[in-house]
Symmetry: C2
Subunit: 408 residues, 2 copies
Amino acid sequence: MTSPEYASHFSLANIPFGVASSPKHVIQCATRLENTVVFLGVLQQAGYFDGLPGLPSDIFSQSTLNEFAALDKSIQRGVRARLQDQLSKELPSGSTEEISAVTMHMPVSVGGFTDFSCSLHHVRNAGRAILNDETPPPGFFNFPIGYNGRASTVVVSGTPIIRPKGHIADRTATTEKKPISFGPSKAMDYELEVGVIVGKSVPRDNGVNAIDADEHIFGMVILNDWSARDIQGCEMVPLGPLNGKAFGTSISPWIVTLDALQSFKAPGPTHNAILANHLEDIASAESSYNISLKVELMANGQIELVSQSNVRDLHWSGRQMIAHVASCGSDLRTGDILGTGTVSGPEQGSYGCLLELTNGGKEPIVLESGLKRVFLEDGDVIQMTGIAGKDGSGVGFGECVGQLLPVL
Amino acid sequence: MTSPEYASHFSLANIPFGVASSPKHVIQCATRLENTVVFLGVLQQAGYFDGLPGLPSDIFSQSTLNEFAALDKSIQRGVRARLQDQLSKELPSGSTEEISAVTMHMPVSVGGFTDFSCSLHHVRNAGRAILNDETPPPGFFNFPIGYNGRASTVVVSGTPIIRPKGHIADRTATTEKKPISFGPSKAMDYELEVGVIVGKSVPRDNGVNAIDADEHIFGMVILNDWSARDIQGCEMVPLGPLNGKAFGTSISPWIVTLDALQSFKAPGPTHNAILANHLEDIASAESSYNISLKVELMANGQIELVSQSNVRDLHWSGRQMIAHVASCGSDLRTGDILGTGTVSGPEQGSYGCLLELTNGGKEPIVLESGLKRVFLEDGDVIQMTGIAGKDGSGVGFGECVGQLLPVL
């Protein structure tokens, strides 16, 4: 399920990295220029990367980008420059295919998936919706709050998501202790996030400062942290989310590098709290990115805009997430994904999940066509996308899409 | 750091599996008979496993047990029977070494680490210590409560643990919101656990019933879930533990198979709650194991017993942990580890962590020699061990040991 409608996201200014296959091409690393997928394993064998210092031979013939992502940025930049130089010229026959003819795969093998809660707007909105209290969690302003997700259930865009079963408390019960039963989730939600893909690893007991952490970020993807709110609500006390978020987490297939995003830096948030040294970020004027995000719902044959937000509204950066994980002595491995948590803005149209949009499932949203939703219905398709800067910037993420299928 | 003192744990009735190397042997799969390590890669090349149906050639020359653990139990039993038959005879020269001459490595590559809270005694004791309320979490009797840990920081016994830094709230402050600062943990603890190693994988969206889940358990290890209580306390609301448990989790190097534990089945707990079908366990009379666990503290040149407990006191089984993870549609991969959570009994001498033993850090424990501890001090060595049945049963886990080193 790959869409040609995002051609404009993939100009020569982008040069994203992904993993693709087709009936004509074995699975290998790839890039995309407009709607053309370029098979990098083929290009490398044809000598297109010859002379680039430090680039291992056959690195693009592999079925994940991990080995490439682990390299020094200087080597990755050499590849990017070579591609920007060559992709506008004629490429060898057999090295390209139309996007509609290829299958996209997980771009990296994911060893760890840690999901954070970096948006102040999200925690305020969600707090108000669930607890009628918008006070952020106690540590929110001191460090990025997060939990470890299940790395094995991160899937590539297009993979169907099956409505999960789980333990659910009957909140309508009048007893103090709400009875718990097992059954299909009735509160299926998405979360609009960005996933930071770890490039060069951080060794155990090494630590890394946020200001130096871009060196460890290979790039970013759009991430949909599908959430079963009723299962999550029943299990979160006291150890946090487990099964309510472990039945599938979708990522967009093309990793957009920090080099591609370089021109779209934007001012970050104001931190009023005194931060630990390792969390001090780069100068606020350029500590964030201007990336517009969008959620669309496809149902009954229609596509409808649900909400829009922007990465620059996050309170914590990808660099700070990395610095926080490493600060206790933990390593980070190439291919690890750190999710930002739901990217929300301050107003209704910018809320990044249904929990916020429906005030905790109490007030349905009504879309343009009159379609109403409290939570997702079977068959609903959620499509997320992101573009750096303005429409037409030439640097975007394409789509992260998934359809909710009925319980098995 | 491997100890010869556990020879009696490794009789012919055990036949555990691990990964070992030495100056004379490249890293490979191994078993242990008393204090002799038997290199299985060497045995396989010498034809010792010839004729066993379904056993891939060179499977024991690998540097992890994952591929072997993924096989059908019938094949693993064939290997076990062959070893029980052959190990009492003379083995080829070069296939064995003394335990003191080898280095033990991580037995499996760990793709996922999910830690549970399976002990009713632990949650009651910890609740009383922290909140002065021993009511278990809301879902405790309905399903095993757990969180995902950081798989990359699971380390083999003997690996030093460095005191982590993290964000800590000043609980002595009189303000309602306690100020948070970053620094070395002052509340270092261990947790006495058993780790269940996943054998044959469970596919995504497949599910598995607890009564069938032994097929997916390769075996068990002793697990020390090192915990920085002050960091954990500052970060757990609302997403659960992250950095307070991500600086190192130790496991014992020898995986004891369910076949070896077969003779030590024991009655499990009474479940008063009505369980979901997939959580219904095998007949209570044999749903647990009689495995005695022990924690010792080595400090000032002395070894002192700290506490003792037993796996049969757990409220949830390994089978039920697997069934719970799979119930939402999640896969389980070979080599995944599911921790039981702290194994505690009802009385003071059976509490599986210092948090419980010291009533939340309020009352120091006094050991035999007069040594006192509230939390761990730099240089302290924690040694855990477990034996199935009575001392002398011939089936044990050896040691899971780690020394706490000063903050970097």
